[in-house]
């Protein structure tokens, strides 16, 4: 019986519940009744604000997309050279994928459902990073023998993979430590490996010397 007449507030409550629900169960696995139950707002009112279940989903996706954009912009500002910027963006990406379970899962659902709403932001990231890599290759700081896209795939792929399988690895392989510790350890090794990957194959004279 929420008689508060607070449209904006209501929408926020609804979208929070929807985000969680869609993340956990996907679009067709989530019913409006469920969301309604979760946030205590009647189905009718939800529909009043978002027109349809699709509309609500879209709103969720758009919010997530904006969040991704913000993350990117934040990661890009303040860096003094391509190296630093690339590093920042990588770290931010890792943090985002690794920590934001909701984004993480909804992105997968959306992919499977052939939704394109989230793709723009992710593609922007890829393009930006590809540009940075190209520049770094020109400066001789990144191995120029490989296409930036492949390098990116080698870079971001493991992050996604780790995020998706880490729990299963922990369980199946009996890894010790908390997930936080595992994450830290992985990140450390990962960074070293990325460096190894990018490092130009030196000639006689070492360039990093």
């Amino acid at each position: 019986m929420r008689k508060q007449r607070d449209g904006a507030g209501t929408k926020e409550i609804v979208i929070a519940a929807a985000k969680a629900a869609f993340a956990e169960r996907g679009f067709s696995g989530t019913s409006l009744a469920y969301i309604s139950r979760q946030c205590g707002i009647s189905e009718g009112l939800i529909l009043h604000h978002y027109k349809s279940k699709q509309g609500l989903y879209q709103a969720v996706l758009e919010e997530l997309s904006v969040g991704y954009d913000d993350m990117l912009v934040q990661a890009m500002t303040g860096a003094e050279n391509p190296d630093e910027m690339a590093g920042n963006m990588l770290a931010a990406t890792f943090r985002f994928w690794s920590e934001d379970r909701v984004y993480n899962r909804i992105a997968m659902w959306a992919y499977l459902e052939n939704r394109t709403e989230l793709i723009a932001a992710e593609t922007a990231l890829t393009a930006k990073l590809a540009g940075l890599l190209t520049e770094m290759q020109k400066q001789g700081r990144v191995d120029a023998a490989f296409s930036p896209l492949t390098l990116l795939t080698m870079t971001i792929g493991p992050i996604h993979f780790w995020t998706r399988y880490r729990e299963q690895f922990k369980r199946a392989l009996g890894l010790e430590g908390t997930m936080d510790e595992l994450n830290r350890r992985f990140l450390q090794e990962y960074m070293s490996l990325i460096e190894k990957l990018y490092r130009p194959v030196t000639g006689s004279a070492g360039e990093t010397s």
Copy 2:
């Protein structure tokens, strides 16, 4: 219609349709009515053979799991040394993920739906590969500075990533050539990079010292 009393044949037809449907639309996005329409077998009969929608899904997952196992076994046999075996398995994995859209997608749906049916096979692969890597590290043929699990993540992660994003990359970045060509080119660079990644850091001066 089909009054052939051919249980086995019917089951095959049903499971093929179910596989395609679940791959495309996920479990809750797929209705028995849809599957029934796709394969021309009545819902009643489908249920007769598989007890429930869940049962049918399970059967699909199990078949996929068996297929994965077979792929693995085949990749492992005939190799004469860990290097070759590892290479074979990697190539097979790439082929499997890259080409089997159905497995690919169902594995993702299943992951999101917290299903464990497909995980066993994948974990077995990981464990096996980890074992091989450890051995190769002992033999000094793989950089021993990193844990096998991290190396694996760096190895398989890009395959998944590439499979998931390649089409979007092609579209968004305007890549030229057919997808087959792109795949080939990627695979070539990928292999080189994997080698670079694994290669022990040689040289007179010890690197971890």
Copy 3:
């Protein structure tokens, strides 16, 4: 809990209830729940047999259309000359419109809802009668000064009108007698008037002079 597994029987029961309901309340004024309640057959089962509310409505319209056709055919057979046939058809039409409240009303609803399902049969009647009239005009038995279509309008229009307004007339003008008696009296006068209408203007003196 009708566990009779009698598809055809069920469909009949449903369509009878639907006919009555649609006649009384129109398409959008009738809910499946109402029909379901009226005939004791679950909404689910109704939809199982007729796919949709529209499908059910269509089935009703088609049945009525067939009924109309049958009436026509029956009226046309057995007559020995155009006069008799025309008379028969007129009488049958009167009886049909006058007595079949369900057809009567559904035809009106359907007209308002821009449905064409019932029009074919009615148009067929008009065309047939127009043909008969033309022939009778050639034989000099019907006034040739008017187009058959106008004559038909003058003929059938009053039937529809009478059917629609008779109750109201009875009430508002305080007519005595049962509706049956009123009907009989009207029909008698109506027939005389039709004859007067059709009768060629004879005599030595030209009629249009």
Copy 4:
């Protein structure tokens, strides 16, 4: 939007949209949301002015009824004898039914929905015309062999019928000319036929001989 505090203007806009909507789709086929969309006035405000959907419908019916009355009064005034008055009323009725699609259709919906709001005016017309006919019969100018009500039915019925079926006739029978022309042609023949119908059977010589 419209913060003009113009109650009367608002009501006019609403009722115009409502009239059109109810004419096209009937009462239960029309939603307040639809009317609101059509005229750009919020559902809340519509309800504020008309209390309920029923109230709005009633207002529409009353307006139409008043329009009918006006038409009648106008047709009745200025005539110098029963003949002229009857002629005027007939012509007005024809014009009204023939041209006012909205009245035409709403009257049918209302009839089917057992609404009585429009009946009073129509009954008044009938009564008035019946009175005129009686008088004309007394004066020997109209065939006294038939009851005025039957004569009226023969007179007005064809108008309704023509209005309802003319388009279908045009299409199905391939009539040439615009609808306007068809209307004119029909009206001309109709008037002659009405005259023929009313004309007292004269003369010493028996007419049916």
